[in-house]
Subunit: 380 residues, 2 copies
Amino acid sequence: MNDSRLMTLSTPCLLVDEGRMVRNIARLQDRADTLGVTLRPHLKTTKSVEAARYVLADGDGPATVSTLAEAEAFTAAGINDILYGVGISPDKLNRVLALHRAGCKLTVLLDCVQQAEAVAAASRASGIAIPAMIEIDSDGHRSGLTAEDPALITVGRILHDGGADLRGVLCHAGGSYGSVGRAAHTKLAEEERLAVVAAADALRTAGLPCPVVSVGSSPTAHAAADLTGVTELRAGVYVFFDLFQTGIEVCDIDDIALSVLTTVIGHQSARGWTICDAGWMAMSRDRGTAAQAVDQGYGVVCDEAGQVIPGLIMIQANQEHGVIARRPDFEGDVPEFPVGTRLRILPNHACATAAQHQRYHVIPEQADAPLKTWARFGGW
Amino acid sequence: MNDSRLMTLSTPCLLVDEGRMVRNIARLQDRADTLGVTLRPHLKTTKSVEAARYVLADGDGPATVSTLAEAEAFTAAGINDILYGVGISPDKLNRVLALHRAGCKLTVLLDCVQQAEAVAAASRASGIAIPAMIEIDSDGHRSGLTAEDPALITVGRILHDGGADLRGVLCHAGGSYGSVGRAAHTKLAEEERLAVVAAADALRTAGLPCPVVSVGSSPTAHAAADLTGVTELRAGVYVFFDLFQTGIEVCDIDDIALSVLTTVIGHQSARGWTICDAGWMAMSRDRGTAAQAVDQGYGVVCDEAGQVIPGLIMIQANQEHGVIARRPDFEGDVPEFPVGTRLRILPNHACATAAQHQRYHVIPEQADAPLKTWARFGGW
């Protein structure tokens, strides 16, 4: 099945199925509305102003970013309530202050005394009370303090008494990526909630403000049963979804809105290989499904229209060559594709695959509507 | 040890040690001169016009590229003898012809009848005899025909009789990446040579021209003992080298000219973790050393001046967070780094890490010379 709108595209390139993306966005917005929390989408997956307009409630915020380059690009586009969700280092505070002067309420994240002292000092020196969230750890995944750690109150006091704007506490249950199924994610979402609510209580008991209580990861955001005490929900990859999220049962494979369009450039028939022009430069080196129950290689092969072709994955990738072959355990027949055939590859990890590209080619649901092009940016 | 020239850089960012790069380039150029072959460097690693001037013999060619976007960028910069080293698909021939009209002698690569017919047809239709090389397989690594395959002569004849410019045969011993040590690489280089010389002989015996006989991969290019019958040598990653090449003993760790500058943003002291602001977005997801004798995680940790710190690697990476910790088998003491400390990380794979960045910050050998900035490009 062919889609004539794709004929003008040079491969490899990045495709977005607009209908799927819109449905993915609506699904999590519905969850947030039902749970009574504000959705603060993470824009690190899409890194595109056009895509951000779809995902932000009123088109301008609130939002989460993973780099100051994102904050700068989105501020320039008028998005004015942004959380920079990576621990702040003192040398970046000049850029944070510049964003405030440009009209963005940029909130920083931290989990130690040294960071809090730097943020407080920069607030006093600039006259801008920098909004700051304290990171809380619920699962030993990466960063953060616990409610019981005396450093929590110390950090809160340094910020609040030192001239910064202590906004609250934030938790990211990144460990949820290692668990499969809704029941597991619901349990982790509750642990995430309990960790951050306990931290908020500790701050308030110490006489410190804590208006914002923020949780989120794509798995826990979709599975949370109750967010009592939480004010804000964050997630990112749900906009596109990917094979990794399919593997942990957060979405179905038919929800995946991102794919790479590729062209067949050769064969090694004796080995059952079809060679295509999407290598790891187009797919990324992400092999996140390698440790899952179903290893998807470098991606699942679809026809040009996006229908999954049973039994075929990209089994290996060089820089600009992908090798398409039968899954090790597949018994059925697989088609042969002449040189020039166009295929789509569903990616392991949407954040990583999208980052290899400079633009999205967006396919509207209406078959007669023209493709749209969205620029995306990278860098720091 | 600090280098004050790096203070103005925002992290994470990409550094090039100019002295090491110049030495790496000279080393392979010396090899090519000794072996009596033309060096046709692969520009896919650096993707930078400024870097290309260092690596190309007279600054303008000959060169190899992995995408037509590279060919277009380098043609615009005046480089006019380029081999596009990925199997051509018919839909890309319009861009190939446009490059010829822009003054570049762009050579395409192919290994099947369908491609040869398309190249011959485009040559006849355009009046431009498209130069084409036939890919030869020496190790079952990826693409290519063998000297014994009757398709070799068929493809050669379609090109030569059909109006294209049959330039010769090319082999890439990509399987050499899986072998350790000079003796193994010398043996694979000889197999690469024998495969491609046999193919050249077969073409000539059939009355077809074969002026160019091209071999190369970084491991075999450095280890080849004899290139009788070969006219041209190709390699790419040798300009920067990386931990993977160190692991297969093509270079020493002190030859690696590429690193990522990062800043410490936090700790999880109970786990012995230092968190830095270079995650997989800055390092790439490439874990090529995972299957080697020494797994380097996401990279080897150096101080800001580039000295390796014994015992420390990046053990895991999230999108914008790197976790630095002791190697599993390291017994000695490792230093603790306060928030704000700058470190350098040597990458597993220079091609993949460089591709995550938009520019190089180049450190001249003279300690008082200012940094240089080289733009790099991506895309297809």
